[in-house]
Symmetry: C2
Subunit: 535 residues, 2 copies
């Protein structure tokens, strides 16, 4: 919507109005094509929307490269700002808004273990591997670069993962892999920023402890900021009784306040990703219940749509950027080095992830008493595999480390950029296409792995359906199922969740609204949604 900082992403071909209108036209037309083709390939078991967009992006890149006579393959240079300020927030916010909160919080410790500790393990292994191999290959990087490589390639692509796994078929897996992805993104970005400001002369135990302390402070403050933003929106909408006049104002306020928390987090050098993710969770728990029925349907779908457009845009963009001729020219005289670097990085990604998924799963299983909650070996393989994709976060960080506003003239940097692109393309295309079949092979329904057999599907599900989870969209909106009572009776009553519920009902909901504490809005059929909360 706004753009203060787009100087760096002006088109290379020309900066005239006409040229920018042409490139917007091409981009929007390609987005439409991605949607239509993605729809047609929906039934295909190998493809998904991300891969389709990536392939269309690469094809358009080739066409532009040919028509521009090998001068330029992209109509805009990859910009970190575009990515971090405009594309990422709607994607992560929507993830928080639509996530199954019960699943997420039940597995919270495991998710944190994988996302934070796991990413650190992966970071160390990839960094050490990079030092070991690349020093021998004599590419010409310094220690800071090696550490940055560790951070860059520890960032999994949660966007692609979301499209491959299914929240309803494999709920435990989805919540683990996706939750890990969000925490992992945040960890990688924090790690990367820490490295850039790191004085490598004096590393001792105090500095490492300080670093870990900072990380936890950052995690807690980011989460709190997101929660406060969400609660504030709930409070304002509840108190000021917004639905009375305008349903659009409610939706606009939710959107803008979510974006504001993200930008405030960026302003305070916190992790915007974590902030907006938790803001999404809080908004779906409180704010969403305070708005009119129309606003509920609108927010659910509008946020999902914005996120969907941002995701498609992103993969299209990465695909078109992949063929950037400027960087490949540096590499063309030493193709062996480039292939070597990419292979080493891919191997390190595989090893680095294996090195934490299996040990940490073992640890996590030790802590769980019920065999139902343990992570079986087949699922461990899937977790390992589903997190191998590297995506736009890696590319954005690589551009930040190795280029100056999208351009580079140094050979080592050009090799690192092209290798990053190679790893991203290879992992998304090869690992990505193989994930769907792998999941259905290892976690097929008949194998009975779903660890939450009694978790009732949200009754509001058809209403909330973002369209990628279920095959049918039923018209009947709320049919209370008999299993809900059974579930309630079976829920263990002395868990953290139980105390949270008591606290929520006693203090939070009366103030901030939420299920059962919705203010009366004349004519709004609020009863309809009372059954439908998934807490």
């Amino acid at each position: 919507m706004m753009g203060w900082d787009f100087g760096a992403m002006l088109m290379k071909v020309g900066t005239s109005d006409y040229a920018s209108i042409v490139s917007i036209n091409i981009f929007v037309a390609l987005l439409c094509a991605c949607i239509v083709i993605g729809h047609l390939l929906e039934e295909n078991r190998w493809m998904n929307e991300s891969i389709t967009a990536l392939i269309i992006g690469i094809c358009s890149g080739v066409v532009i490269l040919l028509t521009s006579k090998w001068r330029s393959s992209h109509i805009l240079v990859f910009s970190e700002d575009l990515f971090f300020i405009y594309l990422l927030p709607p994607i992560i916010f929507n993830a928080g808004f639509q996530v199954k909160k019960k699943q997420f919080f039940r597995n919270f410790m495991t998710i944190m273990l994988f996302g934070a500790v796991g990413t650190l393990i992966s970071f160390f292994i990839i960094s050490i591997g990079a030092i070991g191999f690349f020093k021998k290959m004599d590419i010409g990087l310094d220690v800071n670069d090696y550490l940055a490589i560790g951070a860059i390639f520890s960032a999994t692509d949660s966007v692609c993962t979301l499209q491959v796994l299914n929240q309803d078929e494999t709920p435990l897996l989805y919540s683990l892999v996706f939750g890990e992805g969000v925490v992992n993104d945040a960890t990688s970005v924090v790690l990367f920023n820490a490295i850039q400001n790191f004085d490598l002369g004096h590393i001792d135990a105090v500095i490492v402890l300080e670093f870990i302390g900072n990380f936890f402070k950052l995690f807690v403050t980011s989460t709190l900021l997101g929660a406060v933003g969400g609660l504030l929106s709930a409070y304002i909408i509840k108190k000021l009784y917004f639905g009375r006049h305008s349903t659009d104002r409610e939706v606009a306020l939710m959107m803008l306040m979510a974006y504001l928390t993200y930008m405030i987090a960026e302003l305070l050098n916190l992790s915007g990703i974590l902030t907006v993710f938790f803001c999404g969770i809080v908004m779906s728990h409180y704010t969403w219940h305070n708005v009119t029925e129309s606003s509920r349907i609108t927010t659910k779908h509008a946020f999902a749509t914005l996120s969907f457009i941002a995701e498609t845009f992103l993969f299209l963009y990465v695909g078109m950027d992949a063929l950037d001729i400027e960087k490949w020219k540096f590499v063309s005289d030493s193709p062996g080095t480039s292939i070597g670097v990419s292979s080493v990085l891919l191997a390190m990604v595989l090893v680095g992830r294996a090195a934490f998924v299996f040990p940490l799963s073992f640890l996590s299983n030790l802590a769980k008493k019920s065999p139902n909650e343990k992570i079986p070996f087949k699922q461990q393989i899937t977790i390992w595999w589903a997190g191998l994709m590297r995506g736009a976060v890696s590319i954005a960080l690589a551009y930040n480390q190795f280029t100056r506003s999208g351009h580079t003239q140094i050979r080592a940097n050009a090799i690192m950029i092209t290798s990053t692109i190679t790893v991203v393309l290879f992992s998304t295309l090869v690992f990505g296409t193989m994930t769907k079949p792998l999941v259905s092979l290892l976690c097929a329904r008949h194998s009975g792995i779903p660890s939450e057999p009694t978790t009732p599907k949200s009754f509001l599900y058809p209403l909330l359906d973002n369209g990628q989870g279920s095959e049918v969209e039923t018209g009947a909106i709320c049919i209370p199922r008999p299993s809900s009572l059974r579930m309630l009776l079976r829920t263990p009553t002395h868990t953290v969740h139980h105390y949270w519920r008591k606290f929520d009902d006693a203090f939070m909901r009366p103030v901030f609204g939420g299920r059962g504490f919705v203010p009366f809005i004349p004519g709004s059929p609020t009863e309809r949604s009372v059954h439908g909360d998934e807490n």
Copy 2:
């Protein structure tokens, strides 16, 4: 979402990441404040959202001016691209999407008369007035500038008008003033572009005729492009059966295709405003009926929300830009000239509009047989008054004519920019605040002016309500009212509308969908909306 061309609007204070994050934060926070304050002032008869945003913008401008020690009052420079490429399309598209089509097409000839011929009359009078007065005042403008002034000040502010008039209380008035506003914007922009490419050496009858011919060609092709874009979206969504998999894809496709038609129109040098307006009309007539129930609710509200955010942004932006110290410095040494210029322009705006509203209303009344369809004198005054506001289109055109990427060093140009800002602020604040009371005075309900007493309110209205029209939002969605049958019987059967309906039912709807021709989407309660079309 995208920004290829934002070089011109980089912040003046600094171009660092940090500064741009600060300014985004300020802007988003101000947007939230506008929404909350606008909501609180809803009951106030003088205020509306636009004026609130404008005043908040001016106040923030003052605060920034004081904190930056009189160096700069704005956090971004006004950019035509931001306006024409990102803010205007959602506003105009939403206007087409939500407009009452029956009213609009019934008054089509009057709207065209006011919008096209009226704007030309206004343009000539303001240009001649500018030549007469400003030559005496010796400001230092050339003939091209005078003609540009005519075009700049012929552009009424349809955004502000929309907020002052009420589609349900005064339907004829709303459809006339608003319809005129859209056509008027298009005419002004076309006129302005024509002047810039005009060779003023040889003006003869042939060139004038050519100009008029071009204008009609432009009008027809722009409208057709919009209609084709809308029909294409309807066809794709109907044929490919989108609702089957994903409701988000439908919404995304509608958004992107609407934006694509706008950008194609800009690419082909057509009027994007007209194109996207008619695309909105066609989409609400066909495409909207082909999507799932959730998509219908979502699109109605999401488009209205985007438009609402864009409008608020726009007025905030104009308000903050008003205090641009750089331009006012030029003017401060000759305040008399500046006040004189602004007064002359305001007077010309008043005269120019009076000069076409009353004669053209007279002409229009001559053509109508039924006294019901005539425009009474009181409504003529309201039409005259409601179109006096000048807004962002005027500012954007003035910046285009008198500055080079937002800056100017020429005294005459600085005077014209500041005068434009003065006219916009004065007309919006003074004329704008007086419109609401004037409308209720002249067109009060008891005076019985509503010319369409039997027009049934759309039954879907509560569902489609964008929240600014009605005070209550009822939960009951479709209650067929007895008056609908009466209305159907009373409708004259041999009008253009009748033939259009026959054509529509026989050829258009079977191909493109629409009410009664909705493809079967499993589980989607399509029957619900069958009653609710307003065609």
